[in-house]
């Protein structure tokens, strides 16, 4: 019997797809070059020529939002991808080693968690200079700690289950048991966590770009668009609306996708038993 997919999964997937589609489209086409400056046509309200209007340098806001989507996704994907690549093996290792190995990974995680992700990013950009690469590194560091912790917790629970014990008794080594039995059973949890971290990465990138530490001009970034728009709150309030809506919808989409995936993958919600 097919289970009904949660509504949040539908909505989340749709919004995320829209975001990805916009980003991909921006590779092939934007209404105007996103970096094209035309001071004479600045701060124009939405019109047939510029669907979302123009910014303070006369750049087309729709084009900037599209390329901004690509930049946000790229930063998010890199931050989460690196986080997965480092965090998941560390978490699996901690669970498999137990005792002191577990302890070392847990303490390293504590060290990272002592500083909020945005603060780490600010420190890093202060030391190494502002820019997308350093933002990705800082967010990836934070993500790998989160993912290591989540992976470890989930893996430990799987290790305690009888079928893993049985596999070990039958002569499987810890590495083989991890790959064959543990990893597939925690994949869902990790994917859900990664989706949520993706949303967090987009917000953090926007926050850092808003502060001028993230993606550098001329490449557009939603956060910087918001930061620029702040000056015009009285004169051209629409400037803040479009990048704001873009950030809100993307984060909402990814969070709902994560929630939906969790509901869908959660064994307690499953109609048929076997995992």
């Amino acid at each position: 019997m097919r289970r009904r997919l949660p509504l949040s999964l539908h909505l989340g997937a749709a919004l995320t797809l829209l975001l990805v589609a916009m980003a991909l489209l921006s590779l092939l086409w934007t209404p105007y070059p996103a970096e094209q400056v035309r001071v004479i046509a600045r701060l124009k309200p939405p019109s047939a020529a510029h669907w979302l209007g123009t910014d303070h340098f006369g750049r087309d806001v729709l084009s900037m939002v599209m390329v901004g989507a690509r930049n946000s996704l790229a930063v998010g994907a890199a931050a989460v991808g690196l986080g997965l690549a480092a965090g998941v093996p560390l978490g699996l290792l901690a669970a498999a080693l137990g005792r002191w190995g577990d302890e070392v990974v847990a303490r390293l995680g504590d060290l990272v968690f002592a500083f909020p992700a945005v603060l780490t990013a600010i420190l890093l950009t202060a030391a190494l200079g502002a820019g997308a690469v350093n933002v990705v590194l800082a967010l990836a560091l934070f993500n790998s700690a989160v993912l290591a912790r989540v992976t470890r917790g989930a893996a430990l629970a799987v290790w305690r289950r009888p079928f893993v014990g049985a596999a070990l008794a039958l002569g499987r080594g810890p590495l083989s048991a991890t790959l064959v039995h543990v990893l597939p059973n925690i994949a869902g949890i990790v994917v859900v966590q990664a989706t949520v971290l993706f949303a967090v990465a987009i917000v953090n990138e926007a926050a850092l770009s808003y502060l001028g530490l993230g993606i550098q001009p001329p490449s557009p970034s939603w956060g910087r668009m918001l930061g620029d728009a702040q000056t015009y709150l009285f004169t051209a309030p629409l400037q803040a609306v479009f990048p704001g809506v873009a950030i809100a919808l993307s984060v909402m989409g990814l969070t709902m996708l994560g929630d939906g995936l969790r509901d869908w993958l959660d064994p307690r919600h499953r109609s048929s038993g076997v995992m």
């Binding site: 970096e35 400056v37 001071v39 004479i40 600045r42 701060l43 303070h56 340098f57 200079g129 502002a130 001028g212 530490l213 550098q216 001009p217 001329p218 702040q230 000056t231 015009y232 709150l233 009285f234 004169t235 051209a236």
Partner: protein
């Protein structure tokens, strides 16, 4: 809380004023003033820091140099009521005001002046403009009211420099604590400093000169542009100086409750170029950049038209100015040709470092876009002030940067061998030496003109525009400076109608 209270007081005052007019004649004009500033000073000792905000609070209000610069840029008496210069330009004799006192009650006499000048030129001096004091060879005090300063070489700008905030006269008793509790000789004295919010000055009842009409001046620091506009509209600020949210100006101009003045500063805003670094050591490359930059669009985009273009390092409002803005008209094709001639037919990659002020961050973005049009790919690198001062200004480790040079009459920086432009020109240095030997104003102006031409021909930096001095103030306020001949918010002549 305080804002609400203030607003209530205002409303009450307005109601009272109304009642008073209907009953008798007019209400008393206000005697307090709230000045808005974008930046908070790091401390309040003008003799120990380069931050303009220090002088904007203290100059002429709290501290007095020997001479002062007035609203029109002219030298007027400060702590010295008169002065003479010897014919060879080496001996300066200052006569101090007889009854001048510091705010702590001690007398301000020639010993204090000697202390101040010796402190500023000492080896361990932390004065931001030590070069101003370098020509001094000796300071003598024949009597408590007379100071005789002897120079080792003529310096045509010596009096001008002695009128700067950096030369404010301080007392040995209080010099060490001026940063937090400034003690000067001015018509206002320090009341309190609420960090992150405001500095309050009150009238100095013992001032021996002309007494100001205001009895209380509050400097409030609001860095956020939207909050600046909101504070003005709410009536919390009486006058916002060096207002840089230019896009909001039409609104204030159309509102009869406000008066907007646009004047000039001494801030030549330039695209500073590292003349020692390839490819900028080639004059053709620098000229190509000059042709690539459209000043009109830049002024429009960054200042909303409220600025004047420059073609060299000299402000148009000063005598001796030569208009050189036509030397490199905006011409991308010519720029590309010059780049090709210099061996860069496909342009080159470089870095444009930008300090925090909006004119730099915004202007830099536009300049980078203009340079990209001719093939110069400038990567933008935003930096904080401390990092800019350390790496760019002191370390001279940069390609391009954008900055307003706000010190008045500072064209001589191009003669300094260790300045961060890394520019060296025998022609310019010779002109500068001659300028220092020359006292005659007409000849000085001619020499200034020659200097400007040399800098423009060498296209040392990208000469962009003068930073405007925009003040948004409440109608009924008079005496605020329109221009900024020195970094100052001199409110000694301000009053309410």
């Amino acid at each position: 809380m305080s804002t609400a209270k203030q607003r209530f007081t205002l409303a009450a005052a307005a109601a009272l004023a109304l009642a008073a007019t209907s009953l008798t004649a007019t209400a008393q004009p206000r005697t307090d003033l709230v000045v808005g500033m974008a930046l908070e000073p790091p401390h309040l000792d003008p003799t120990a820091g380069a931050a303009g905000a220090i002088k904007e609070v203290t100059y002429a209000n709290l501290f007095e140099p020997l001479l002062r610069v007035d609203a029109d840029g002219k030298l007027v008496p400060g702590l010295a009521e008169r002065w003479t210069v010897s014919d060879d330009g080496l001996t300066y004799r200052f006569t101090l005001r007889p009854n001048a006192k510091f705010h702590d009650g001690t007398t301000a006499d020639s010993a204090d002046v000697k202390f101040t000048l010796d402190r500023a030129r000492a080896a361990d001096s932390v004065n931001a403009q030590k070069a101003y004091f370098a020509p001094i060879s000796q300071v003598e005090t024949p009597d408590p009211q007379t100071v005789v300063v002897t120079l080792s070489r003529p310096d045509g700008l010596f009096l001008f420099h002695m009128a700067s905030g950096d030369a404010a006269i301080v007392a040995p008793e209080s010099a060490a604590t001026n940063k937090q509790k400034p003690v000067g000789t001015g018509p206002f004295k320090f009341d309190r400093w609420v960090a992150g919010d405001r500095v309050v000055l009150v009238r100095n009842p013992d001032y021996d000169g002309m007494k100001p009409k205001l009895d209380r001046v509050t400097f409030r620091f609001i860095s956020d542009p939207a909050a600046q506009v909101a504070a003005l509209k709410a009536g919390d600020i009486d006058a916002f100086t060096l207002f840089s949210t230019y896009e909001a100006l039409p609104e204030f101009r159309n509102d009869p409750k406000f008066v907007v003045t646009v004047g000039s500063t001494e801030g030549e805003t330039i695209l500073s170029t590292n003349n020692a670094r390839k490819p900028f050591d080639d004059v053709r490359v620098r000229r190509a950049m000059a042709h690539a930059i459209d000043r009109k669009t830049l002024i429009d985009g960054v200042l909303y038209g409220n600025g004047v273009a420059i073609g060299s390092h000299f402000p148009p409002h000063r005598e001796g100015y030569v208009d050189l803005t036509g030397l490199y008209p905006y011409d991308p094709a010519k720029a590309k040709a010059l780049l090709a001639e210099a061996g860069y037919p496909n342009g080159f990659d470089t870095t444009l470092r930008l300090p925090p002020p909006p004119y730099a961050r915004r202007g830099g973005e536009l300049v980078a876009a203009m340079l990209a049009e001719v093939g110069i790919r400038a990567k933008i690198e935003p930096v904080e002030w401390a990092a800019w001062l350390e790496k760019t200004f002191k370390g001279k480790d940069y390609d391009l940067t954008m900055i307003a040079h706000t010190e008045p009459l500072d064209i001589d920086i191009y003669a300094r061998p260790d300045y961060y432009f890394n520019y060296r020109s025998e022609r310019f240095n010779a002109l500068n030496d001659e300028l220092n030997r020359t006292q005659d104003p007409a000849k000085r102006n001619a020499l200034y003109g020659e200097e400007q031409k040399v800098l423009a021909e060498d296209a040392v930096n990208g000469f962009l525009f003068m930073l405007p001095s925009v003040t948004v103030q409440k109608a009924g306020l008079t005496g605020m400076w329109v221009n900024r001949p020195v970094q100052a918010n001199d409110v000694t002549g301000v009053s309410w109608k």
